[in-house]
């Protein structure tokens, strides 16, 4: 529990979330979402929930990311908002 | 009384219910279908007749069958008042069955199977209303009655009929809901909804705030008052004349509207009790409304040219006689009401039968077209004249008798204004009925009457018989079915006195 480290992670999380939502290119969004998930996983691990962090890293950053990419390729990567 | 006689009220309700599938199944063979109707009517009447001796002794037959809602049994009990009402309804059903055969075939109506089935259904529920042993059972049958009359009102399927049926449904469904609400309030206050002659003892003993009592009373009075055609709530009745005439005659002169006034009697005499109502001052409200109704309805009847509509307004007026009698809350007044239920039924059904016969035979429904019609349809107009005289209150027809008792009631109660209105309305009755008779008898008929004779015997025989009944009951009130005796027994129960009047 190093709270300075957590604070930095939190700020990073917020930043990643906002970018993921505001990016015009959905691929950027997805990458930022993966970043978000990975930071969250780090945060979980640092908070002592090792297995949750572990799962979040595998699932949130890995599998979901891949699924997002596929979905976007199936549809369209551009958006106006 | 044994088990069998306890089941008679239930059987009386079920008979016409059983007839429905038979009617539906034999839709391809009209003769068979109508004989089912006849058979059911006869059996029903027989069952009701068998209850009379007991009722004359003041006994109540039947009882709770099972609980239909928690704490509320499904109760069919034939007490004298119930038997009285059931007697009228089932007795006149026989005549109506015969008449409707003539009318429906003579008029070439469509969907006759639906007509007869719905008719049987509404009779079932009318008898149910009559024999309901508590308010909840009453409501159940009351609502079924509403529903089963709907197809009858809408029978012609013209736009006017649909509008009328909508109006009918709106009025009666709203009324039913208010009745339910009132019953719910009462149930939460007293924990019972049983009918008890002279008023619920639980209600009389309890200390309900008078405001709440008023709310309950108003809800219930509107609930039953709509079907009884009390004035601001009456307007469905003239519209419902869009229905075929057998429907108007039996349901809108006997079954439906009478179940309304029957409900008024039940609510005021068997739920609240006259004592409580007088204490509340509710009798004044009822009196004002009914007195207003009978005067205004008579005025409105003048303006109608359509024969059935005129009869309908006359019905509205006469129903208010009954309500007025109840609101007097004296023995003669209520006795007059009860007798008028029977008297008005036989007379008004005659008049409606006549109107139907004229419509089928001459295709006329306006009074102004009736010039000289009596010459081609002598029997019909003879019956019509008897009915009209009875409603006006001319002896020896039974209408005189009941009106006389009502007038006695007003004197007994010291209510002079209602007495005056009663007399005035009697005169007005004469005023709007006799021109019809005079027109038919004394004006020369037009050319279009040529080639028409008397109506089909299926129609003439019933209408003459009901006219005869009016006369017979006027002369001998205790003939055949002891109408007067029954009414006396009811009075004894309601006012809790023994002996004669």
């Amino acid at each position: 529990m190093i709270w300075e480290f957590e604070l930095v992670l939190f700020v990073f999380l917020v930043f990643a979330a906002i970018v993921a939502l505001e990016a015009r290119n959905l691929l950027v969004s997805v990458v930022m979402l993966s970043v978000f998930s990975f930071s969250a996983a780090l945060l979980f691990a640092s908070m002592g929930a090792v297995d949750v962090g572990f799962t979040e890293a595998v699932v949130g950053a890995g599998v979901t990311g891949i699924l997002f990419v596929i979905a976007i390729h199936k549809t369209s990567a551009k958006t106006n908002d | 009384m044994g088990l069998q006689s306890d089941l008679i009220p239930l059987l009386a309700v079920l008979v016409s219910l059983f007839a429905i599938p038979l009617i539906a199944l034999s839709s391809r063979r009209p003769n068979l279908r109508e004989s089912w109707t006849f058979l059911a009517a006869l059996i029903k009447f027989g069952l009701v007749l068998s209850l009379i001796p007991g009722a004359l002794r003041g006994e109540t037959v039947g009882g709770a069958l099972f609980d239909i809602a928690p704490g509320l049994p499904f109760e069919l009990e034939a007490d004298p008042l119930g038997v009285f009402f059931a007697l009228i309804a089932s007795g006149l059903w026989i005549f109506t069955s015969a008449y409707s055969i003539g009318y429906m075939r003579g008029n070439g109506e469509v969907k006759q199977t639906r007509f007869f089935a719905a008719f049987a259904m509404s009779l079932s529920s009318t008898i149910g209303v009559a024999f309901a042993g508590n308010l909840f059972t009453f409501i159940v049958f009351y609502e079924i009655l509403t529903l089963s009359t709907y197809p009858l009102v809408v029978h012609k399927e013209s736009d006017a009929a649909i509008q009328a049926a909508r109006k009918y449904l709106t009025y009666t469904l709203t009324a039913g809901l208010l009745l339910v609400a009132g019953a719910g309030l009462l149930y939460m206050e007293t924990g019972t909804l049983d009918f008890e002659a002279g008023g619920l003892s639980a209600l009389i003993d309890s200390d309900i705030a008078s405001g709440k009592l008023w709310v309950i009373f108003i809800l219930m009075f509107i609930g039953v008052g709509v079907k009884a055609g009390v004035m601001p709530l009456h307007s469905w009745l003239p519209s419902a004349m869009a229905a075929p005439t057998p429907v108007s005659s039996l349901l809108h002169a006997v079954a439906v509207v009478k179940s309304g006034v029957f409900g008024v009697l039940r609510v005021s005499g068997f739920i609240f009790g006259f004592g409580v109502l007088q204490q509340m001052g509710a009798d004044v409200l009822m009196m004002i409304l009914s007195a207003f109704t009978l005067t205004v309805a008579s005025f409105l009847a003048f303006k109608q040219d359509n024969l059935k509509r005129r009869l309908a307004y006359s019905t509205v007026g006469h129903l208010s006689y009954i309500v007025l009698g109840v609101s007097l809350m004296t023995m003669s007044g209520v006795l007059g009401s009860v007798l008028h239920i029977a008297a008005h039924a036989t007379m008004k059904i005659t008049l409606f039968f006549c109107a139907g016969a004229i419509y089928v035979n001459l295709h006329k429904d306006s009074i102004s077209q009736l010039d000289g019609a009596a010459k081609v349809m002598p029997w019909t107009f003879a019956a019509f004249t008897i009915g009209a005289m009875g409603l006006t209150g001319i002896p020896p027809i039974n209408g005189f008798f009941s009106k006389w008792t009502l007038a006695l009631g007003t004197i007994e109660a010291g209510q002079w204004i209602p007495l005056g209105l009663l007399i005035l309305s009697g005169l007005m009755n004469a005023g709007y009925f006799f021109p019809i008779v005079a027109r038919a008898y004394f004006k020369p008929g037009g050319k279009d009457l040529e080639g028409h004779g008397e109506a089909n015997p299926w129609m003439v025989v019933p209408l003459v018989s009901t006219a005869m009944l009016s006369v017979i009951f006027g002369l001998f009130p205790n003939a055949f079915v002891h109408i007067l005796d029954l009414a006396t027994v009811i009075m004894e129960q309601l006012f809790n006195v023994g002996g004669d009047l």
């Binding site: 090792v50 297995d51 572990f54 799962t55 595998v58 699932v59 890995g62 599998v63 891949i66 699924l67 990419v69 596929i70 979905a71 390729h73 199936k74 | -």
Partner: protein, 147 residues
């Protein structure tokens, strides 16, 4: 997969990485009952390794690792292992559903029975999770999502 992201470098990287991820997944599954991890995480890791190959090399090559047709039965088998163990414990052991001590394996103390029971369950869960994730990917990639 109609459009694979084919490039020699990704393919090489994926091929180098996949076995290790898979190995790690197996490790996670089999050590789940006394260290962080377990059936779900392990299954997800296994799925990740398969998906990595799918993305990198296209379905033809990667179906050598795990064929499209196998996924559904595999998921079913996983679920059946899970419920089967639970029911076995319930019916033969006479105790509650999923009560591992009731497992009818002769010659094992209740302590080890619980170990074994959890392990079996974890394997079932791992199989099911891997199959389900790969299945989702396959369905989406084929454009067959018609639910």
């Amino acid at each position: 997969m109609k459009r694979s992201f084919e490039s020699p470098i990704t393919l090489l990287g994926a091929r180098a990485l996949a076995p290790f991820i898979m190995m790690f997944g197996l490790y996670v599954i089999f050590h789940g009952h006394y260290s962080p991890g377990g059936g779900f995480q392990g299954g997800a890791l296994l799925a990740a390794s398969v998906l990595l190959m799918r993305v990198a090399s296209g379905s033809k090559t990667s179906s050598l690792i795990l064929s499209n047709a196998v996924t559904t039965p595999m998921g079913v088998v996983g679920v059946l292992i899970y419920f089967g163990t639970g029911l076995l414990a319930m019916f033969l052991g006479g105790s509650n559903f999923l009560d591992y001590e009731g497992l009818p394996i002769p010659g094992m103390s209740p302590f080890y029975l619980r170990y074994t029971g959890i392990l079996i369950i974890e394997v079932g869960v791992g199989l099911a999770v891997m199959a389900a994730l790969v299945l989702i990917y396959d369905k989406m990639a084929d454009g067959e999502v018609s639910q």
